[in-house]
C-alpha cells in the first residue's frame, strides 16, 4: 500500500468518467486511477 497525491483530470481533453484522477510515480511516470463505481455504472448502462 502507498499514499499518493491524486490530481483530478479536469481538462476537457482528458476528463473521462472512467478515471478518478492520476498520480505521479517516483520515476516521473503518470498512472491513471480508475473510478470503479463509475465504471460499473457505465457497464450497467451497456
Amino acid at each position: 500500500m502507498r499514499e499518493v497525491v491524486v490530481h483530478t483530470l479536469t481538462d476537457p481533453l482528458v476528463a473521462r468518467p472512467e478515471f478518478e484522477g492520476a498520480t505521479e510515480l517516483g520515476d516521473g511516470t503518470v498512472i491513471l486511477i480508475l473510478d470503479v463505481p463509475s465504471l460499473l455504472r457505465l457497464a450497467r448502462k451497456g
Binding site: 490530481h7 481538462d11 481533453l13 473521462r16 484522477g21 516521473g28 503518470v30 491513471l32 457505465l42
Partner: protein, 173 residues
C-alpha cells in the same frame, strides 16, 4: 506609428515551421513518458507530469491529420498556457524564437490543406514562411467529443482501443 513586435516560439512539424506566441508558452521540455488516456479524443497523446502537475498532451501531427512519427531525441513538448489550462503540444522539434511584426503576417484564408483550420496566418520571414498557430482552436475539443463522453460508451471503447494499439509512447533509451 508604433509597430507591435511579438515574440514567438517556433516549432517544427514535417519540416515546416509553426509559431505560437511566447506569452502563451510556459516551457519547453524533453519528452519523457506519456501515459495514454483510454477513450480520449484521437489527437490526445495522453497525460504527462510537468513540475508536479499532470497535464494533457496533444499530438500536433494527429491534430493536423498527419502521420505520427516515433519519439526521438529532437521531440519536444511545448507546454502552453491558455486561460487556466496547461496543455502540452507534442512536436517534432522546437528550438527557436522569432520576432514577427504585423506587416509580415498574411491572412490564411487562401491557404488550404492539412491543419489550415488551426492557423491564424502566415508570416513571411526573410528565409522562410512561418505558420501562426491559433492555440484556442488547436486545443479545443469538438462538441462531438464532449457528447460522446457521456453517450455511446460502447462504440467509444472500441475505437479507443484501436487507436491505443497503434501508439508508441516510451522514448527508447
Amino acid at each position: 506609428m508604433m509597430v507591435i513586435v511579438e515574440n514567438y516560439i517556433l516549432f517544427e512539424i514535417e519540416g515546416a515551421a509553426y509559431a505560437v506566441r511566447t506569452s502563451q508558452v510556459e516551457m519547453i521540455e524533453m519528452v519523457e513518458s506519456i501515459t495514454r488516456v483510454p477513450n480520449a479524443p484521437g489527437f490526445v497523446e495522453g497525460v504527462t507530469a510537468v513540475r508536479g502537475q499532470v497535464v494533457p498532451v496533444i499530438s500536433v501531427r494527429r491534430r493536423f491529420h498527419m502521420q505520427p512519427i516515433p519519439l526521438d531525441i529532437r521531440s519536444r513538448l511545448v507546454i502552453t498556457r491558455l486561460e487556466n489550462r496547461l496543455v502540452g503540444m507534442l512536436v517534432d522539434t522546437a528550438r527557436e524564437f522569432a520576432r514577427i511584426t504585423p506587416d509580415q503576417i498574411k491572412a490564411v484564408d487562401s491557404l488550404s490543406g492539412q491543419g489550415s483550420e488551426y492557423l491564424d496566418g502566415v508570416a513571411a520571414m526573410p528565409d522562410r514562411l512561418v505558420l501562426l498557430v491559433n492555440l484556442e482552436r488547436l486545443l479545443s475539443i469538438e462538441e462531438q467529443d464532449i457528447l460522446s463522453a457521456t453517450d455511446g460508451m460502447q462504440g467509444e471503447i472500441d475505437s479507443g482501443s484501436q487507436v491505443a494499439s497503434q501508439r508508441q509512447h516510451r522514448l527508447k533509451p
